[in-house]
C-alpha cells in the first residue's frame, strides 16, 4: 500500500460520521481536518473539546463510545507547543477518529474529558505527570508514574533523555 497524498480539504471529508456531526453542530469547532494513511485527524478548538467529545459519544448513528487512548506530543520549541491527542473508537461501527487540541507552552490547560469517559482518568493523570498539562475539572490530578516530589516533566522535549544530574 504505497502512501497516497493526505487529504486536508474539509469539504471532501464531510462524509465521515464524526466530522459530519461536529460540522452540523458547530463548524467553528473544527480547526482543520486531515485524512492520512487511512486515519482521520480532526483539530478541535481548545474550548470545545469536552463538548465535542460528549457529542461524538452520544450521537445515535455512530457513537464513539470508547476512548482508546489519550496522550500528548510536545513540539518544542514551536508554538503552540503541545498537542493533546484523543483516539476515539466506535465499538458498534468499528470506526476510529483522532482528535487533537493544540495548547500553548506557557500555560497548557485543557478541559478534562473524565466526565465524558471515566477512562480518561489515568490517561490524563499520565499526561499531567509526564508533560505538565493541566486538565481542568479532573477529579484527582496527581502524578501517577513519577514520584510525588519529582521536579519537571520527563516527556517534554526540553527534558534531557538522561535526566538532570
Amino acid at each position: 500500500m504505497p502512501l497516497g497524498p493526505a487529504i486536508t480539504d474539509v469539504a471532501q471529508l464531510k462524509s465521515h460520521p464524526a466530522l459530519a456531526r461536529i460540522l452540523a453542530w458547530k463548524p467553528a469547532a473544527v480547526e482543520a481536518a486531515r485524512y492520512d494513511r487511512d486515519e482521520l485527524t480532526l483539530s478541535i478548538e481548545r474550548s470545545f473539546i469536552r463538548d465535542v467529545c460528549a457529542l461524538l459519544r452520544d450521537q445515535a448513528k455512530c457513537p464513539f463510545n470508547f476512548l482508546s487512548d489519550l496522550t500528548c506530543v510536545d513540539w518544542y520549541p514551536s508554538e503552540p507547543r503541545f498537542e493533546v491527542i484523543y483516539q476515539l473508537l466506535s465499538i458498534p461501527n468499528r470506526e476510529r477518529v483522532r482528535l487533537k487540541v493544540r495548547l500553548n507552552g506557557s500555560s497548557p490547560v485543557v478541559e478534562s474529558v473524565t466526565s465524558v469517559w471515566p477512562a480518561a482518568n489515568f490517561f490524563e493523570r499520565e499526561v499531567f505527570d509526564l508533560f505538565g498539562i493541566r486538565f481542568s475539572g479532573h477529579p484527582y490530578l496527581r502524578r501517577i508514574q513519577m514520584p510525588e516530589d519529582w521536579e519537571g516533566h520527563p516527556l517534554r522535549k526540553d527534558y534531557p533523555v538522561e535526566g538532570y544530574r
Binding site: 493526505a6 494513511r37 482508546s68 477512562a119 489515568f122 514520584p147
Partner: protein, 384 residues
C-alpha cells in the same frame, strides 16, 4: 481503616500498590498507586533509531513480547506504507497466537494460585515451557524475542520448527481439558469466582476496558476480527463472549481463547504461504547475510541502516492490536528523521486497572485478589 496492599504483595502480579479503605472485611474504597516500575521507555524510544525500538517493546509487556513487536512494527509500516509478504504475515499471526497462549498460561497459573488452586500452576508452566522453547528455536530468545522486524520477520524459521509447532498444536487441546478438569466444575473455584467482581458492559466500555475484561461483560468486540491487521481477516475463529461480567466469565473466556488460538496456529501452519519473509525495501530491511558478502549494494544498505537508520516520512499513525490483555496500541509520530519523534503505547492494562475499584468496592478483601487476577495486569506495561 486504610490498609496498604502491595507493592510487594504476591497477588498484585508485580509492583502494584492498592490503598484499601476497609470496614472489617469489607472494602469501601480502592485507590491504585502505580509507577513503581516506570522506566521511561517512551522517552528512550525518542533517542533510538526506528529499528532499535523493537527490543524495547519486548520489555514493556514481558508476557507477550511478540504482540508488542507486532504492534510497533505495524505502526511503523503504516507510516512507511510498506507491503509485507504473505509468509511474514502468516508467521506473525502464528507466533502472535503462540504468545497469546504463553500469556494466558501464565495468567491461568498465577490467577489460580492466588485463589488457592496450586496445582494448576505446575500444569500451566509445563506447557508454557514448550511455547518458550519454540520461541527460543525461532528467535534465539525465550522471552525477549524481538523476532518481528520492520518489513517482515528477522529470519526464516529454522528447519524443523514447523514440525515442532505442529506437535505442540496436536497435544495442547488435551492439556486445556486438563486445566478445565481441575477448575471449571470445581465447587471451590466456582464459589470463589462466580458472581464475584461484577462489572456491567456500560461501565466496562466507559472505563476503557478491553480484551477479555470487556468481552466478559457481553461486549462482542475483538480487534482481530473487527478491525483486522496482519491478514487476520483470512483466518476463521470464534470470539468467545460471556455476559455475566464476573471473574468466572473472564476465566472461561480466556480458556476458550486458548482453544481458539491453537486452532489459529494450526490454520496458519496449514496455509503457510511460500515466499520471502521480508519486504522488498532495501532501504528499510536489512539484507540477507549471503548477499552482504557478495553484493556491494547490499553491503552499503546494511552499513547505512545500521549507522544512520532509515528515515520515515513525516506523519502519525495509531495501530491497535488485540493483545492477550486487550487493546494494545502504538501511536507513532514521525518528523521525517531516522528517530521517532514520539512513541506512545496505549496500555490495555492501565485502562483495565481502572475497572478494579468498580468491581471490588463493597465486597470482601479476598475478592480483590480474585479480581486483580481476573483482569490480568502486567505492571511492566502499566508503568512503562
Amino acid at each position: 481503616m486504610i490498609l496498604n496492599m502491595g507493592p510487594q504483595h504476591p497477588s498484585t502480579h508485580g509492583v502494584l500498590r492498592l490503598l484499601l479503605e476497609i470496614e472489617g472485611e469489607n472494602v469501601v474504597r480502592i485507590m491504585p498507586d502505580l509507577g513503581f516500575l516506570h522506566t521511561g521507555i517512551e522517552k528512550t524510544c525518542e533517542a533510538k533509531f526506528y529499528q532499535q525500538v523493537v527490543p524495547l517493546t519486548d520489555r514493556i509487556d514481558y508476557l507477550c513480547p511478540m504482540t508488542n513487536n507486532l504492534c510497533y512494527v505495524l505502526a511503523v509500516e503504516k507510516l512507511l506504507g510498506l507491503e509485507i509478504p504473505p509468509r511474514a504475515q502468516w508467521l506473525r499471526v502464528m507466533l502472535n497466537e503462540l504468545t497469546r497462549i504463553n500469556s494466558h498460561l501464565v495468567w491461568l497459573g498465577t490467577h489460580a494460585m492466588d485463589i488457592g488452586a496450586l496445582t494448576v500452576f505446575l500444569y500451566c508452566f509445563r506447557e508454557r515451557e514448550d511455547v518458550l522453547r519454540l520461541f527460543e528455536m525461532v528467535s534465539g530468545q525465550r522471552m525477549m524475542t524481538s523476532y518481528f522486524r520492520i518489513g517482515g520477520v528477522a529470519l526464516e524459521p529454522p528447519l524443523g520448527f514447523f514440525e515442532k509447532v505442529k506437535e505442540f498444536a496436536g497435544r495442547f487441546p488435551a492439556r486445556v481439558d486438563e486445566y478445565e478438569d481441575l477448575l471449571t466444575h470445581n465447587p471451590i473455584w466456582t464459589m470463589r469466582t462466580k458472581g464475584v467482581a461484577r462489572i456491567t458492559a456500560e461501565d466496562a466500555v466507559a472505563l476503557g476496558a478491553s480484551g477479555p475484561t470487556l468481552r466478559g461483560s457481553g461486549v462482542d468486540f475483538d480487534l482481530r476480527r473487527d478491525m483486522p491487521y496482519s491478514s487476520y481477516e483470512k483466518f476463521q475463529f470464534k470470539v468467545p463472549v460471556a455476559t455475566e461480567g464476573d471473574v468466572f466469565a473472564r476465566y472461561i473466556i480466556r480458556v476458550q481463547e486458548l482453544r481458539e488460538s491453537i486452532a489459529l496456529v494450526r490454520q496458519a501452519l496449514d496455509g503457510m504461504p511460500e515466499g520471502p519473509t521480508k519486504a522488498d525495501a532495501p532501504k528499510v530491511v536489512l539484507p540477507d547475510r549471503e548477499k552482504m558478502k557478495t553484493q556491494m549494494e547490499a553491503m552499503i544498505y546494511h552499513f547505512k541502516i545500521i549507522t544512520e537508520g532509515f528515515t520515515v516520512p513525516a506523519g502519525e499513525g495509531y495501530q491497535a492490536v488485540e493483545s492477550p490483555r486487550g487493546e494494545m496500541g502504538y501511536y507513532v509520530v514521525s518528523d521525517g528523521t531516522a528517530k521517532p519523534y514520539r512513541v506512545h503505547m496505549r496500555s490495555a492494562c492501565l485502562a483495565n486497572l481502572q475497572t478494579l475499584p468498580k468491581m471490588c468496592e463493597g465486597r470482601l478483601i479476598a475478592d480483590v485478589v480474585a479480581a486483580i487476577g481476573s483482569i490480568d495486569i502486567v505492571l511492566g506495561e502499566i508503568d512503562r
